[in-house]
Symmetry: D4
Subunit: 221 residues, 8 copies
Amino acid sequence: MSVEKDIKLDLTRGERIGLDEAIYCAGKSSAHLNRILDEAHVESARLLLTKLAESQYQSLMPKHRDALDFDAISRTAFFGSPHPTRTAREVVVLTAGTSDVPVSREATRTLRYYGVPVKEITDVGVAGLWRLLERVDELRRAPVVIAVAGMDAALATVVGGLTPAVIIGVPTSVGYGVATGGETALRAMLASCSAGLTVMNIDNGYGAACAALRVLRAIGN
Amino acid sequence: MSVEKDIKLDLTRGERIGLDEAIYCAGKSSAHLNRILDEAHVESARLLLTKLAESQYQSLMPKHRDALDFDAISRTAFFGSPHPTRTAREVVVLTAGTSDVPVSREATRTLRYYGVPVKEITDVGVAGLWRLLERVDELRRAPVVIAVAGMDAALATVVGGLTPAVIIGVPTSVGYGVATGGETALRAMLASCSAGLTVMNIDNGYGAACAALRVLRAIGN
Amino acid sequence: MSVEKDIKLDLTRGERIGLDEAIYCAGKSSAHLNRILDEAHVESARLLLTKLAESQYQSLMPKHRDALDFDAISRTAFFGSPHPTRTAREVVVLTAGTSDVPVSREATRTLRYYGVPVKEITDVGVAGLWRLLERVDELRRAPVVIAVAGMDAALATVVGGLTPAVIIGVPTSVGYGVATGGETALRAMLASCSAGLTVMNIDNGYGAACAALRVLRAIGN
Amino acid sequence: MSVEKDIKLDLTRGERIGLDEAIYCAGKSSAHLNRILDEAHVESARLLLTKLAESQYQSLMPKHRDALDFDAISRTAFFGSPHPTRTAREVVVLTAGTSDVPVSREATRTLRYYGVPVKEITDVGVAGLWRLLERVDELRRAPVVIAVAGMDAALATVVGGLTPAVIIGVPTSVGYGVATGGETALRAMLASCSAGLTVMNIDNGYGAACAALRVLRAIGN
Amino acid sequence: MSVEKDIKLDLTRGERIGLDEAIYCAGKSSAHLNRILDEAHVESARLLLTKLAESQYQSLMPKHRDALDFDAISRTAFFGSPHPTRTAREVVVLTAGTSDVPVSREATRTLRYYGVPVKEITDVGVAGLWRLLERVDELRRAPVVIAVAGMDAALATVVGGLTPAVIIGVPTSVGYGVATGGETALRAMLASCSAGLTVMNIDNGYGAACAALRVLRAIGN
Amino acid sequence: MSVEKDIKLDLTRGERIGLDEAIYCAGKSSAHLNRILDEAHVESARLLLTKLAESQYQSLMPKHRDALDFDAISRTAFFGSPHPTRTAREVVVLTAGTSDVPVSREATRTLRYYGVPVKEITDVGVAGLWRLLERVDELRRAPVVIAVAGMDAALATVVGGLTPAVIIGVPTSVGYGVATGGETALRAMLASCSAGLTVMNIDNGYGAACAALRVLRAIGN
Amino acid sequence: MSVEKDIKLDLTRGERIGLDEAIYCAGKSSAHLNRILDEAHVESARLLLTKLAESQYQSLMPKHRDALDFDAISRTAFFGSPHPTRTAREVVVLTAGTSDVPVSREATRTLRYYGVPVKEITDVGVAGLWRLLERVDELRRAPVVIAVAGMDAALATVVGGLTPAVIIGVPTSVGYGVATGGETALRAMLASCSAGLTVMNIDNGYGAACAALRVLRAIGN
Amino acid sequence: MSVEKDIKLDLTRGERIGLDEAIYCAGKSSAHLNRILDEAHVESARLLLTKLAESQYQSLMPKHRDALDFDAISRTAFFGSPHPTRTAREVVVLTAGTSDVPVSREATRTLRYYGVPVKEITDVGVAGLWRLLERVDELRRAPVVIAVAGMDAALATVVGGLTPAVIIGVPTSVGYGVATGGETALRAMLASCSAGLTVMNIDNGYGAACAALRVLRAIGN
């Protein structure tokens, strides 16, 4: 039985597709995470860690804990310095409710890691429409808007009709009954009649930020 | 083998729960429908027929065709005269798109059959928000608003935040891909964060009108 | 990266749609809940808290614990005094079994918070039909009946045929096998042939009470 | 490539499990059905055909059409004489609505084919409860009750609480929206809190009759 | 707010439908269970408790623990003496694998509570067919066979072809991947081409026993 | 009963969000489509029609048929002249198989309507990997790549790893068994580990083109 | 807009993976199929066509119709001569019922096209177990057994326990109610406790034959 | 009540189908596992244990813990010596990501238990295609390739086009949102257009190894 080393950091991915490797931490043991960070240390690599639970962070070796810029709400951590600011244009990240913040913050932190200015506007769900309408001018200045919402995800549809920007919808798993798990929010976003609205997997704030980075790179930023 | 007569018009239902019997026609043969209308004729009954396809209508006996007030869009027909007008308060029926009109019209026709004034406002989906916002004053005057929408059904959530009226959401089976069949619209309405939004089965315009009638009766109309 | 304050109590919602803001507590941290209660204290606001687990309640600051009227079964709490009694007409809340009581109690407590008299009748599922039939007179006096049931949710259909009142069905997640999660109860209520039965999300006793409040307001209570 | 004859009538099945072979006709070509009937003729076999659409029946060879006792509503046909009457005890078959009759009639006809007396009572759905309550005495005399219902299938639960008989629930695919296809009726019956209610596949009136035959055989009839 | 006592033992159910009330314990608090047992003590009632987890049993008051005949595998308990033996005919309960035993034992214990002789044969899944074929004679002597199986539930189909007895299939939630939760086993049993096979909810050993009791009562035992 | 005119062309949408109104034709009657084209004629409007079946096109009034640039494969039609060419950068549209062409062609035609150069490359599914690898240089020059694929939709993942461009995945309903309807392709794209891949509703080539237009506008084209 | 020729026969696939290109005909127009056959004629290619409906076959140009070896039951056609016989070992294809024959025949015909001897044994479903047990010796001689079954698909599990051969399960879409579409048969096969049973997509007889060919090639045949 | 001994080791299964009995440990108590190992000790049996969680292993009696060759990652254990090496041909096991290793290792360990040489290659998902292309020569030398992948499972499709070997796809439950539970990976593999790809249940590395063993046995190894 031949079994290979299970850590292979892909340190040239940035050149190929414009995105560094990110470490998806859910389900990884402390031992595994410590080995990854050891290797990143040796290679002087810059790394983004996602879905890193507070309990996982606390169980890391102290030197690794200290070296990380960890954020408990978004469950993200930076190893090494974030990229320098690369563009003057601010991406807007919206959430329908405060329960969606862990997901929006993951997008916000990922963008910040890549040097992108970002404005996060929370709790503007369309059951209280005036909260969103007050912010339309800010929305319309952004080249990309990330709309994060659970339950019926109606926010994404309304935003898609208010701005010609690229709209990236991120459904969240917030809620109970038919909302639990985010499937309803996902399908509502996909079925939206706002033309050209694009959609990510449930709770995938990281992916939404990567999609925004692909757009900014196409723009030349 | 003893098999009973399969037509038993329930002519006293109006007294018990305030709603006449309605004949659900989908899947019924012309022969069966003709027998029902024969019996209604004999009993001088007033009947509402729902989900009556144009081809079913055309295959009825001429005397029954002539006796019906048939509407092809909503697939409804009235046998006998509708109820006299019973209230001064106008129910509002909204649709997100023109494809939802067969369902909204079923609600509108059912209310008219029961003598309820109704205003139907079509094509006010929230991907083009200003269309709805122009009508807010009309909305806020109604005791009951029926919101008919397919796809992501975001209309119902937005309406729920604009008026204290009773809101009855009717998801429709309009659309393709994840929208087909109306399951997404249904779940989005159920998961809505507009508090107190009630929901009907997919394409059930008739049921929404009956729910409105229960409210009007509670009001005393 | 600009991130905004994540608590924005909406203290004028009552004026717009006739319902105060309610705090949905599931998934919120103690720190977050304490900040909300601090702000409510400063603003002298009246608040309803829903889905507040006993363990969340116990982890609040003592002054907030003391200030709350907490009910462990329904997982609701009142901050400030409930609204004064606003109507003489009693809403009836029914449950099919004793396992449905956490959901029915959420509806009952929400109505009480808004000053609405309510009668809660438990364990009248239709597998033992005589239990419901004994209560028909009480049922028929209510302008609104909330029917709370899991499993096959047959209670709602039977009640819909016994009274002309507004019927609000609340499916519950009680049960095992195909009943678990409440999807079966939800779909059975939506497919009911009791005309005009309206339906809420699974376990949404709070929403059912809000729907009842919209009806009472339309009545003028 | 060796391919075998595709018709193999199992003419000794009755001895093994007490049930003759039945021919499930859906999807079978006229040619195939004609060959089966040819073979039955040669063997002087008695056969029950199920799910035989009227168009299939009309496309058979005239001699086979003439030899069959065909019923268009239940889509069943008998080849050869039905079994002689085997028991004095009458099975009761109930339907919630008239749209469920094709399925109840399949059960009724299958029982008749096997010589079992049966009483079919239609249109006793529990949204109009008094229709069922009038028939309780008849119900309680039957050793087996087959309850056929679509939509929310609440009939089966109520019946299960009214009689100690064996209850066999048959969900039907009648309805639209969440009812279409019968999945909701099926799951509601399985989740029923009427203890000891057994359930068949959707639209399987034939299977329900076979289950009743197994019971009657256990009884000694 | 009027709220009623939430314990109402139904002590006359046995007379109406031939089955005593059973207490479904999942999700009930110790306090609630203690109150039920207090009441049963006062009324000298005989009770069957189902889905009673070992941890729930251990948290009961000592006097109640001592009074119960508890079985941890099936999570059942008897309060008071079981019914006297009522029939000489033995029901057979089969399981496909040893993981299905908690469910088969629930059926076995329920039958024993009602005084019915029962033979439980475990681990006769049809992936090793000879295990079942060795037992065919025992099978064919039983008036009722309960077949308990998870995963693909093929056992029920094979048994249905081996005996003319009443067959009651109980799917179990055993397994992983597509088997988890029992949905696959349930649907496989419902789709079985063994004519007259009846099916219960997933893991519902109790219900299967009740169905068997209805059959035995119809037989006159 | 007040019912409004059901055609309201939104002729200023282009100014608000950069996209003209498009007419979704599925389910619309010839009469309805003729009225829309009459109105477009009166207003000298430019219109894009989508999901226009050949049979619908053939049933239009001859003058409308003649005025349309209709493409049967993509079921699209242009009324009025397409927009002038607006950018020098070519969007690439890929399909996994030839059965996906109706959807890719809808995207291609929509882009052409808006004056965007586009290269459509068909039949490069990754079960025959070399077909895609030969085209990598073309892929890497495009600012936006639309990947259209049914079945397992693996094409989108592979493309996402080959280019830093914006990737828009469009699942198609091509296939049979688990592929039918496109749900599998949709979910596979959403679950893709290619970072930043965005996804549209099943068969939504039009929406993918609109998303590309939002990106090109953000780029300044 | 650049659009490429949409027919690209892959005539070297046989060398790479040991399987010729097959033409999946469902949904392809006659014009498209005629162009493919024109090209195959020019290239003197050998082709296998699958899912070719009789109506599609009848609408081909007469010269193509004449050149094809078409089988209406399996909806397959051969263009050019099948491969010469390549192995002495016979593959066995089993079906549970006669309705499964279109799928088993697709496997059988595909194997024959590739020169593999095959024995097709139909109607050996395990509800009548003795039919299969009579054939065990034939089964055990085959290196590969393809088990084709719809409904509960129990055949595959039983076969897996009777022979050490490679077992390839093919679920079919035969049946009604929970069986319709083949999802139940698919999941039952995947959940089977017969160790090492492999599974194909629903109705994919062609794929099963290809899997068998991969095995025979690994054997050296 | 007669209840049989619930442990029946099937020690002759190897002779019948070429595979020893394996003990599926999920959900089994320590007491039950200890009894099985006692019996294996008495019989001098060789056993493979699967899905044995580390906590279960730690709770065994010390003598049994010591006698087992336990691997925590794959949750497998060997009792007795593995089979001697039986073939010179190496099976290849691939994983798309490091999170899939628990499943691939189960396959690898099962093969090793049966004396089959195996090469495990991890982290070659096709979002970074070059990782797989570097290994094509190794792939093409194997008679059987097991492809283990979660999320979109695109690895299996690409591999199927690169080698004529037998391909066994194992979907894993790795991921979040639409990936959770492995259903998406499963369906993507089943819908793959790589001809002849066979599929196992989610996370079923053991079954994949058994399928490989059936192939090797057919080959004569």
